[in-house]
């Protein structure tokens, strides 16, 4: 259904365009930094880090567009939810960008070094899973598809499980090579950052559900990331 006042729809088109750009860049940043890790190359990571500023700028643009729309259009019902959800999604995407930036910074140290037994293949696989979640959740947002959003929430469980097992493998590798604690710690943080991006994608999925239904999903999401419970033997 279209608004009688067509400029109202144009405002939403503009907001969606900004979110699409944010989503596109956030996804590309994660994809690229994972590629650097996989191919063990560092040239170009600085450019990737610098590119995070684009996300910050777009997030600010979105805030201005949203505030203007609220002030001038006084949106109601789903229109109001669309604006509020756009604000939250933009902030989530901006945070996702920060995590990719942080991964890139740590990668500059990690890539030239060597930690035997580091589960790099699993790390890259987890990043791929998260990147797919991010891609799907942006589709769900644009199509206002609450069913797809629900499915994405379930996928986060697999990411959590993988992160827990990665965490254990990394601890073992660090234990065996005490002179590589710095590298090992950076890898722990990289794994955690990827897992957090999965959480943000899940948050966006919950926002999409709210956008469509006017309430948040009632079922408590299962958690499988038990790495924070890890103890010394």
């Amino acid at each position: 259904m279209a608004h009688i006042l067509s400029s109202f729809d144009e405002d939403f088109t503009q907001i969606n365009a900004t979110i699409a750009q944010l989503g596109g860049i956030a996804e590309a940043q994660l994809l690229e930094v994972t590629d650097y890790l996989e191919k063990r190359k560092v040239d170009g990571l600085d450019a990737l880090i610098a590119r995070d500023k684009e996300l910050d700028k777009l997030d600010q643009d979105l805030h201005e567009q949203a505030i203007r729309l609220i002030a001038l259009r006084a949106p109601m019902a789903q229109d109001l939810r669309r604006v509020i959800v756009a604000l939250k999604v933009a902030s989530s995407l901006e945070r996702i960008g920060d995590y990719s930036k942080n991964i890139a910074k740590r990668s500059k140290v990690v890539i030239p070094a060597q930690l035997d037994g580091a589960p790099m293949a699993s790390l890259i696989r987890m990043s791929g899973m998260v990147q797919e979640m991010l891609h799907s959740v942006m589709d769900a947002y644009m199509e206002m598809d609450a069913n797809l959003a629900d499915e994405i929430r379930a996928r986060d469980l697999e990411v959590d499980k993988l992160h827990t097992s990665l965490f254990k493998s990394l601890l073992e590798a660090i234990t065996e090579q005490p002179d590589k604690v710095a590298i090992g710690s950076h890898l722990l943080f990289i794994a955690k950052n990827i897992e957090r991006i999965g959480d943000y994608a899940t948050n966006i999925a919950e926002q999409v559900y709210f956008l469509v239904h006017g309430e948040f999903p009632s079922d408590e999401r299962q958690k499988a990331d038990t790495s924070s419970l890890t103890q010394d033997d």
């Binding site: 259904m1 608004h3 009688i4 006042l5 006084a74 109601m76 019902a77 109001l80 239904h213 006017g214």
Partner: protein
């Protein structure tokens, strides 16, 4: 426990000649709340409002079927005194319409004709109390003999509210009470409405979605003579249950 509704309407049908304006409207309006009636022009919201104090009786060819009770009294009972009903159910109109009389006489008019004041002092007291409740006393206390129509638009509307409450009604009906007022005068009236609901049950027709959202606790959406949706204002404006309501409050068509 749900409180007993102040106004109960059941299967209300209204006809203007052969033209049916309301179709089977049923609603429970709670006491000491502001209930906003919204909907596009011609949807029947003002018709329904005018049923509550039988203002439709004076319209040629208009007939009302169904039941409307205020508390336990059927207001369409053949023995009911309509003049008395209109004292219990006051009305404020879109355009401020003070009588061509002094400020004092505008407010004193109702209590006089209903014989509610026993002495001049008594009447003075009612006039002051009503003007205070309408938030107008401080502005007019030194010129009560001045003509009511000499006041500003917002003041005139508050004078009409004072006139309505002077006869101690239970219910106040408002038909777009702010549509002729500027934003400041509107804000003053809205603030007053919020205050008045402690003492009265208020039913208000408004074309301003923002006004309905700001001042009412309950909202009823009418469309083509039917009551589509009725519920808490906070729900109606954030997640209405019916697509028709959603489209109307968001200004959509399709």
């Amino acid at each position: 426990m749900e409180e007993k509704p102040k106004i109960t309407a059941r299967d209300v049908n209204v006809f203007y000649g052969d033209n049916q304006a309301l179709f089977g409207v049923g609603i429970d309006i709670p006491a000491n709340n502001v209930t906003a009636l919204i909907g596009p022009s011609g949807c029947g919201k003002s018709t329904f409002l005018r049923c509550i104090n039988r203002m439709n009786d004076v319209i040629e060819g208009c007939s009302v079927r169904g039941n409307i009770h205020i508390d336990d009294a059927n207001i369409y009972d053949a023995h009911l005194d309509v003049v008395e009903l209109r004292a219990r159910v006051g009305m404020v109109f879109q355009k401020p319409n003070p009588f061509p009389k002094s400020i004092y006489d505008n407010v004193a008019y109702g209590p006089r004709i209903h014989g509610q004041a026993t002495s001049k002092a008594d009447l003075d007291n009612i006039v002051e109390k009503s003007l205070r409740r309408a938030g107008l006393w401080e502005e007019v206390k030194d010129r009560l003999a001045a003509i009511g129509s000499g006041l500003s638009g917002g003041q005139q509307q508050r004078l009409c509210i004072a006139r309505a409450i002077a006869v101690s009604p239970d219910v106040i009906l408002m038909d777009e009470p702010c549509s002729a007022l500027d934003p400041i005068a509107t804000a003053i009236i809205e603030d007053l409405i919020e205050e008045l609901r402690n003492k009265y049950t208020i039913v208000m027709v408004t074309h301003s979605m923002q006004q309905a959202a700001r001042v009412s606790q309950k909202t009823a959406y009418f469309h083509l003579g039917k009551l589509v949706e009725f519920g808490n204002t906070s729900d109606i404006f954030t997640r209405p249950q019916f697509e028709q309501t959603e489209a109307y409050i968001s200004g959509k068509i399709g």
